[in-house]
């Protein structure tokens, strides 16, 4: 019984994993099922559509076709490992796991295999220190930037003084949700606010007690580190207890249309951070319509176009394509390897002219990556939800975060990782 099954699996896997050479392979460890699908689908669609556009419009990256290999992880780390192992043999250039848990798994594995990981705005924050995390990138901003930007926004709202104010953090009880706590604690020492921590267990459908506590303690501001179904439930609960929505700020993973729409008018005024611009008012969308949608090549159901997370998937794909182009220039070859891709990511420069040339003017901040800084500039903006027009709009500029506090934390955490794993810091 056991042996026949093994044999059958062997045959299936060998046929399934026949490598296709000559394409540039970008695995997409996405999730279109499970409690996080509402957020996983738009990101995966945006990621796939941008590569489809590059293939159809430009004939690939530098003339070489890009191939997106999708693998369903369901936000589950064991499936994530399976996906990583099954796709890495096909020449995967860069992994974007879209899950902090899976990122933690992949950091040692990908480093050993020499494949770069781009955890854009998630994952292990101290990976911003490229001297320790040679293969891990988290530009353009990370969780600790996000925490600081949220506090900066509160400071701006309150006229610069939040001494004695209270801030509650509603967070997903996992590595993802726990990431900002250290930064928020440091910042509370600096600015003198009182921090309350409210953990929500996976998957986040049950939050009655947390919101009861918020109703009782009436914190001045509520921050949220949520994902998937947890976002929708939290926004609905906040609306139910009539918490002032403009004092409720989510991280960039808690601010998409799929999170706010279920709460209807109750979600009006809810704020979230963002690391790029919103909406579909870009020349790029005309190209997408012409080359991808109208050709019938849109990924998924094709109904996510223009949403916040679709834009983010597209942004991630754009950064990957630009890094691949940079790698092609540096090494003078079209068929780049994961090691070359890593060099390209480390030398990546994104400026306004480049974005405008791609049809995405003013889409995100300008930045450049270096060995010392894999985390980018850490800029972020605040967006607000308008329930009547069902649209997000940016209400602030891309503002800086408190790098004095964050830089010290990054140095401390990456040094701990380096000591645990016998890594000597350095750029060579």
């Amino acid at each position: 019984m056991k042996l026949t099954k093994l044999a059958a699996a062997a045959i299936a896997a060998t046929i399934a994993a026949g490598p296709v050479l000559a394409d540039l392979v970008f695995p997409s460890l996405d999730y279109r099922t499970g409690p996080y699908a509402a957020n996983g689908i738009p990101f995966a669609d945006g990621y796939a559509d941008y590569f489809a556009l590059v293939n159809a419009r430009d004939g690939g990256i530098g003339g070489v076709a890009a191939k997106v290999v999708a693998c369903e992880t369901g936000y589950n780390t064991e499936k994530g490992v399976e996906c990583y192992e099954s796709t890495k043999g096909q020449g995967a250039l860069v992994y974007q796991p879209l899950s902090t848990g899976i990122t933690y798994q992949l950091i040692p594995k990908a480093t050993a295999d020499g494949i770069p990981v781009h955890s854009m705005g998630y994952g292990r924050t101290s990976a911003a220190n490229g001297k320790v995390f040679r293969n891990i990138f988290n530009y353009p901003a990370n969780y600790w930037n996000g925490a600081s930007i949220a506090i900066n926004h509160i400071l701006a709202e309150e006229g610069g003084d939040i001494k004695g104010k209270s801030v509650a953090l509603v967070y997903h009880n996992s590595a993802y949700g726990k990431e900002p706590i250290r930064t928020l604690e440091e910042l509370s020492k600096k600015h003198g606010y009182k921090l309350t921590l409210l953990a929500v267990d996976h998957p986040g459908q049950e939050q009655k007690s947390q919101w009861l506590q918020i109703r009782r303690e009436k914190p001045d501001y509520v921050l949220m580190w949520g994902w998937g179904v947890m976002n929708q439930v939290a926004i609905q609960e906040a609306a139910n207890i009539r918490y002032p929505m403009d004092h409720f700020i989510g991280i960039w993973w808690s601010g998409s249309e799929n999170d706010t729409l279920p709460a209807g008018d109750g979600a009006n005024g809810y704020k979230a951070l963002n690391m790029h611009n919103v909406g579909s008012d870009y020349p790029l969308y005309a190209d997408l319509k012409k080359y991808v949608y109208d050709a019938g090549n849109a990924a998924g159901a094709g109904d996510q176009s223009g949403t916040v997370l679709y834009n983010r998937g597209m942004y991630a794909a754009m950064l990957a394509v630009e890094a691949a182009k940079t790698a092609q220039e540096i090494h003078g070859t079209k068929d780049i390897t994961p090691a070359m891709m890593r060099d390209g990511m480390e030398a990546l420069v994104i400026d306004e002219a480049k974005m405008a040339g791609l049809g995405m003017p003013n889409f995100g901040p300008s930045f450049s990556v270096s060995c010392e800084n894999h985390g980018g500039p850490g800029l972020g903006a605040v967006q607000q939800w308008d329930a009547s027009t069902k649209k997000w709009t940016l209400i602030t500029e891309f503002g800086p975060s408190d790098m004095d506090v964050i830089g010290a934390l990054i140095a401390e955490d990456s040094a701990a990782f380096a000591a645990e794993n016998n890594i000597t810091e350095g750029c060579n």
Binding site: M1, K2, L3, K5, L6, A8, A9, A12, A13, I15, A16, A17, D30, R32, T33, A37, A70, C71, E72, G74, N76, T77, E78, V81, E82, E85, S86, K88, G89, T100, G101, Y104, Q105, I107, P108, K109, T111, A112, D113, R124, T125, N173, S174, A175, Y176, K178, E179, I181, R182, A199, D201, H202, G300, D413, A416, E420, N421, N422
Partner: protein, 358 residues
């Protein structure tokens, strides 16, 4: 014709009572072991090791452990995920606190710590039975996950609450961490599986196993014939948790490399192991292997067929996977409520008579 007792003469009691009394079985067993040790390590690649074989071997240990408790001693437990977490966190604390400690002792000690925790949570089994005991062990599951999330000491005060396994080697070969060769981690786990399955098989045939089975079949009658229920139930909980703890430690240290308790050791894990035991067959060591193989390999196989060969969209494939695995579970339980092990037993009975069934 080949598969028969006739002509295979036993000259001692020991030979008469061996695990595989039929020569054909015995040779099959030796060949499987030889194949697993001498051939598999050389044909194994990263994908096969990390995605298929390692989880199968590790879950097989967990399934054997739970089978000892449920299948042999009749005590229902839904706390396996929590006990695996105890094994994993014990391994992490031991690895980081005593970097010189040999990895084998780390794993064994983790099992020992889990055994103590398991016996503690097994105490209610002396007063409550059946579904009520299941609920009590469910409490253990939730309590342990909450504990490892709440107390930062367990994850060495790391910012994210993640635990990650440092690199450890055995006889100069790296066993844990990302630099481990697939063959070394495979052989390391295989060694544990072999020893533990062998120990479980012999334990369940011996005095202890008979006591457990007496308790399972009728605890009052067992008490009357002189089985101490306290000792029998607590040893079952202890031995079972030892196995599950070792599985948890291996899952964390060798297979995953990094874990967080809510995601890796949640209630889903308890159900997964329970399904393995039920589908494989209660009260059978072979059944534990068959159940683990079914629950680990089937989804991977289905995924490779549907996405890899038939090029279905990943979400459709993933939904269908639930439908197919769920359907197969129902069909198996209707056709053969005693699990895959019973199918195997029936097949062997038929083979013995073949080709002259009358």
């Amino acid at each position: 014709m080949l598969y028969r007792e006739a002509g295979d003469f036993k000259t001692s009691y020991a030979k008469d009572q061996q695990t595989f009394p039929i020569a054909f079985d015995r040779w099959g067993y030796f060949i499987t072991i030889a194949f697993a040790v001498l051939v598999v390590p050389f044909i194994l690649n990263d994908y096969w090791s990390n995605a298929v074989i390692l989880p199968f071997l590790i879950y097989a240990i967990a399934a054997i452990g739970l089978n000892i408790l449920i299948g042999y001693c009749g005590q229902v437990s839904l706390g396996s995920g929590g006990f695996m977490a105890v094994g994993a966190y014990a391994a992490y604390k031991l690895m980081t606190a005593f970097p010189e400690l040999n990895i084998i002792f780390v794993i064994l000690l983790s099992g020992g710590i889990t055994a103590l925790v398991g016996m503690l949570f097994g105490l209610p089994s002396l007063r409550i039975k059946g579904f009520y005991l299941a609920v009590a062990t469910l409490a253990a599951q939730f309590f342990l996950v909450w504990l490892f999330n709440k107390v930062p000491w367990f994850y060495n005060y790391s910012a994210s609450g993640q635990i990650s396994a440092p690199e450890r080697s055995l006889f100069g070969f790296v066993v844990t961490g990302a630099n481990a060769h697939p063959a070394t981690s495979y052989l390391f786990c295989l060694g544990f599986v072999f020893v533990m399955a062998w120990a479980a098989r012999n334990m369940t045939r011996g005095a202890n196993g008979r006591k457990w089975m007496a308790i399972r079949d009728m605890d009052i009658a067992a008490e009357i014939i002189g089985v101490d229920p306290l000792k029998a139930k607590l040893t079952a909980f202890g031995v079972s948790s030892f196995y599950i703890g070792i599985a948890g430690a291996l899952l964390f240290a060798v297979y995953l490399g990094a874990a967080e308790v809510g995601e890796a050791f949640g209630i889903e894990k308890s159900f997964l192991i329970l399904f393995m035991v039920i589908i494989g067959g209660l009260g059978s060591i072979f059944g534990s292997f068959a159940g683990a193989a079914f629950m680990v390999l089937m989804p991977v196989l289905l995924k490779n067929i549907m996405v890899g060969q038939m090029s279905w969209p990943t979400d459709l494939a993933s939904h269908f996977q639930f439908v197919i695995v769920g359907g197969l579970i129902v069909i198996f339980l209707i056709v053969e409520p005693h699990g895959l092990a019973q199918l195997w037993r029936l097949a062997k009975e038929k083979l013995r008579l073949w080709p002259f069934p009358h």
